[in-house]
């Protein structure tokens, strides 16, 4: 069967009867079966076919939802009622959620089909998808390379065509970095756009659910449907959801380019050179380029890790073997239950972050670390707001490099630095998208990141579409 890259290709065929949804789902299922990337942890095959049948009959009656024909995979840190969800962790092995995430419910209400759950780094902590109890996901473009992380499975599955779209979560770049590595679109909406209810909390004031797609229209549609206030998440915004598809692009754009990002030592030379060429091209198209100061680049990753680990150590306290999930067989009393369950249930990276978080919150260190980091976060927000008062968006490469080899990065700090361009949007709560515009001479794809002011998703999608038309490397 033909590989589809947007819902707009699929829906007319379904409506005029040239394509059967059951066949479409079957073709995805068989692709998943033959895939070698280890993207899927579990496939909901039978259910997906049943739902396909149901949606088909709705299509016949003309009563189908907006996402009829969209087959979606979900990251393994989202709750889907009566389905397993483990955060790719031993500690939640075989845990079944008893409710569905609001975002998933909203997609299902529009007749999306959930085809399975996707691999990721344990509790969304990682940048390579190597930290999963289910083993690493491989990059579909080159199986010796990582797909990025933490939503590596979600990026790889869409890239490989195992589903049309997928859901991921983004705390510091966990959607945009793998999207860049796998050559697909990855969107993190504004903080508060999409309810976090049903997303395993990693760092509550950073986490957002987002989407992977091949087309910007699909991404905009999915984000729009998932957006909006939710009584189960007090941090959701009351604003109306963004539009369901990009509207007209602005004729003249004012583009902020942070010099300090491009001067980052770890930035690949070729990526940097091509980026400057593209900047020139945008200038010749009549747009204004403003090189702006962002003096916080040195602090951005440390700041992010102080705050996210603090929230994480508290968010992950509930995994203690007492009420649900894995309980160590060495549990004898309450203390040994906690100690042994958490020692055996969590992987090394999760434990590292829990310890870091407890350290920065502990008496005597709180002011020096947590409290200070909160102040720095405020400065970063203010600085970025200033930049976006005067510019339409901030443009950077999404990642300093293309996908690296499996096992290549072992030093945690080096791994953390992979997020240097993406954590910015999570620290400020702003929406950001990675658009797969480029291919490196090493044959790996990579993307550019567009970051707009809070709740300016419409402008973000418009710009993404415009840049795709003008800068996409074939």
């Amino acid at each position: 069967m033909k590989t589809f890259t947007s819902l707009q290709q699929i829906q007319p065929l379904l409506i005029n009867g040239d394509l059967s949804l059951e066949e479409l789902v079957t073709s995805y299922l068989s692709k998943i079966e033959f895939s070698k990337t280890n993207s899927f942890i579990e496939v909901f095959g039978e259910e997906a076919l049943l739902k396909a049948k149901e949606v088909s009959s709705k299509i016949k009656h003309g009563s189908q939802g907006l996402l009829a024909g969209m087959v979606i995979g979900i990251k393994d840190n989202l709750c889907y009622k009566n389905h397993k969800s483990s955060g790719a962790s031993k500690i939640l092995e075989n845990f079944e959620s008893i409710f569905s995430a609001t975002a998933i419910e909203r997609l299902i209400n529009e007749d999306a089909i959930i085809i399975g759950r996707l691999n990721c780094d344990e509790f969304a902590m990682g940048s390579s998808n190597e930290k999963s109890i289910y083993g690493p996901t491989l990059n579909p473009h080159n199986h010796s390379k990582v797909p990025g992380g933490s939503s590596g499975g979600s990026a790889a599955a869409v890239s490989e065509g195992l589903c049309l779209a997928s859901l991921g979560s983004d705390t510091g770049g966990s959607i945009r970095q793998p999207a860049s590595f796998c050559g697909v679109i990855g969107v993190k909406p504004s903080y508060g756009r999409i309810s976090r209810y049903g997303l395993f909390a990693y760092a509550s004031s950073f986490d957002q659910i987002g989407a992977f797609t091949h087309s910007i229209d699909d991404a905009a549609l999915m984000i729009s449907i998932m957006s909006g206030q939710d009584e189960f998440d007090s941090t959701t915004s009351k604003r109306n959801p963004p539009s369901k598809g990009p509207v007209f692009p602005k004729s003249k754009l004012s583009i902020a380019v942070p010099k300090d990002y491009l001067n980052f030592q770890g930035l690949d030379t070729e990526i940097k050179e091509k980026f400057f060429l593209d900047i020139e091209k945008l200038k010749t198209l009549g747009h204004k380029i403003n090189y702006v100061d962002f003096p916080f680049i040195k602090h951005i990753v440390p700041n992010y890790y102080v705050l996210t680990t603090a929230e994480a150590c508290s968010n992950l306290a509930r995994y203690d073997g007492a009420h649900f999930g894995f309980r160590s067989s060495e549990s004898k009393d309450i203390e040994s239950t906690y100690l042994s369950t958490r020692t055996k249930g969590f992987g090394i990276e999760v434990k590292r972050r829990i310890m870091l978080g407890n350290f920065v919150l502990s008496a005597g260190y709180y002011d020096a670390y947590f409290s200070k980091a909160q102040k720095v976060r405020r400065l970063i927000k203010n600085n970025t707001k200033d930049i976006l008062e005067n510019n339409d968006f901030i443009l950077t490469p999404t990642t300093p490099k293309t996908a690296f080899n499996l096992g290549e990065i072992n030093d945690p700090i080096d791994m953390y630095l992979q997020d240097i361009f993406t954590v910015h949007a999570n620290l400020t709560g702003m929406p950001a998208i990675s658009v797969p515009l480029k291919r490196h001479s090493n044959k790996m794809p990579y993307g550019y990141q567009i970051m707009t002011n809070n709740f300016e998703e419409d402008l973000m999608f418009n710009t993404a579409k415009y840049l795709t038309e003008h800068l996409k490397q074939s």
Binding site: S97, A101, A201, F232, S234, L316, R318, H323, N358, Y366
Partner: protein, 487 residues
């Protein structure tokens, strides 16, 4: 050492923390029902269970209750505040943290005024009141091998009320806790039931040599299930501390539990390994910003409080301190009294009826005045009938009141008429009766005429018998003194 000896030498310093469970319909951070005594683990959604992916949502009723208590205690209400997480592991705390307020308690300062037995008044200063959630319940004594967990209570809203270390005697402590409970009940935000644990009290206690400025080692006492036990535990601890100090033994910084049957305290755990709760702002809940309008709206919703009623009863209504105290002790009694005096200005009589006949019925039937059958309006009508001499007080008290209990829906005047208990106001008829009695009892009449006044009682009895008690005693006395002259 006995208490008196100890108190001659040492000074007591006590601070009290009270946890009051709020009587909201649902829990503090989710829509699960807040009900005591339900089948264990039935009032639990995934949010109460702390399942992955769940988030809290704040019940604004909790905010209203907290502000009411803050206004009643004359606290400063915090305008900008947030919640914090208090992190610790325990099996009845499924999230691994408690949502509470650390840095920005909703109320700061304020005070509770108490009256002591010797008539002295004292103001107990509050440090703070903050909002938080309760944990689940660990049940250690039901299963010999396991601790059982009931999460119905997990997430029930609490107010924690903390005093400064200013309480100087166990009586002050007793009065303070009584006063807080009374306030919680008047505000209708907590039922104040210490046995069920809907109001819990922790006492921090230390002693120091009189005149010293340095506090002694502090000990915390928990598990106090009545106000009386708060007082008892302090009296016990004062002596225990003093005896240790006298022997030069260091007092351990520890948490102790009170054993009610023996009246003593026992060590529960040492505080050496002090907890580090790693508080930080709760990122899942938005900060709260209170407007003056909202606070004023809460002020306008405040019921009359016991101290205000006390003042009103003693100064405006002219009741004694004793009566005013009795009436304001329970909100329901005060409410009933207020309803009675809507229709009568005989406040003393209203008090006497409530604290006398009515109170004894309540005690007999073990009911609260809310369940008392006779409407307040009928009591005020009864008072009016007596005041207007329509019925004698003794008849009202002995017969009509019982009849009102039997027919609570019928007004007392109708009941009295039906039973022929209305005082005979026709003096002509009464004169005839009196004359007849004089004639029938010549020797008593002779003695009465010659000045034996104590026979008034004898004639009164005869007349009452003849009139079935309906004669107004005052009129009877007047008439017999008048008619005897004619004999």
């Amino acid at each position: 050492m006995d208490l008196k000896e100890v108190l001659n030498k040492y000074e007591l310093v006590v601070g009290i923390e009270i946890h009051a469970q709020l009587n909201t319909e649902s829990k503090a951070y989710c829509s699960d029902k807040n009900e005591f005594g339900q089948v264990p683990n039935t009032l639990i959604s995934p949010i109460s269970l702390g399942h992955p992916g769940t988030l809290p949502m704040f019940n604004e009723k909790v905010l209203e209750h907290a502000i009411k208590l803050g206004i009643a205690c004359k606290c400063n209400i915090t305008k900008m505040m947030h919640f914090d997480r208090k992190n610790y592991f325990y099996a009845d705390l499924p999230k691994g943290y408690q949502i509470t307020q650390d840095q920005t308690p909703i109320c700061r300062g304020g005070h509770i005024d108490v009256k002591l037995k010797n008539g002295e008044e004292k103001s107990i200063e509050l440090t703070r009141i903050h909002m938080e959630e309760d944990s689940g319940k660990s049940i250690h004594d039901l299963d010999p091998f396991n601790t059982l967990i009931d999460l119905n209570r997990a997430g029930v809203p609490l107010l924690e009320i903390v005093t400064e270390p200013v309480i100087k005697s166990s009586e002050e402590a007793y009065q303070y806790v009584s006063e807080i409970r009374k306030l919680l009940r008047y505000l209708d935000i907590c039922d104040g039931n210490m046995e069920e644990g809907s109001m819990r009290c922790d006492v921090n206690i230390s002693i120091m040599l009189k005149g010293s400025k340095e506090f002694g080692q502090r000990v915390e006492i928990k598990n106090l299930n009545s106000i009386r036990n708060v007082q008892r535990s302090i009296d016990y601890e004062i002596i225990r501390h003093a005896e240790l100090l006298e022997k030069n033994i260091k007092i351990d910084p520890e948490t102790r539990t009170f054993d009610a049957p023996s009246g003593s305290t026992k060590a529960m755990r040492t505080k050496e390994a002090a907890h580090d709760y790693r508080y930080f702002p709760e990122p899942d809940l938005n900060p709260i910003s209170l407007s003056n309008e909202f606070i004023n709206k809460m002020k306008s919703k405040m019921p009359e409080l016991p101290n205000e009623l006390f003042k009103k009863y003693t100064s405006k209504l002219g009741l004694s301190d004793y009566d005013a105290n009795n009436l304001t002790e329970h909100k329901e009694i005060a409410n009933y009294f207020e309803k009675v005096i809507e229709h009568t200005t005989n406040y003393k009589s209203a008090t006497n009826w409530i604290m006398g006949s009515i109170k004894s019925i309540l005690n007999q039937q073990a009911i609260s005045i809310n369940e008392f059958q006779i409407p307040a309006k009928h009591i005020s009508e009864l008072i009016k009938m007596i005041d207007e001499n329509k019925i004698s007080h003794s008849l009202a008290n002995q017969k009509l009141f019982d009849e009102m209990m039997t027919h609570p829906t019928i007004d007392p005047l109708s009941l009295a008429k039906k039973n022929n208990w209305i005082s005979k106001e026709d003096e002509g008829e009464l004169e005839e009766i009196i004359k007849n009695i004089f004639i029938k009892n010549p020797s008593e009449t002779e003695r009465f005429k010659s000045g034996e006044k104590k026979l008034t009682g004898f004639f009164m009895g005869q007349i009452m018998k003849a009139t079935k008690g309906t004669a107004n005693p005052k009129t009877v006395v007047q008439l017999i003194n008048q008619i005897i002259k004619e004999f």
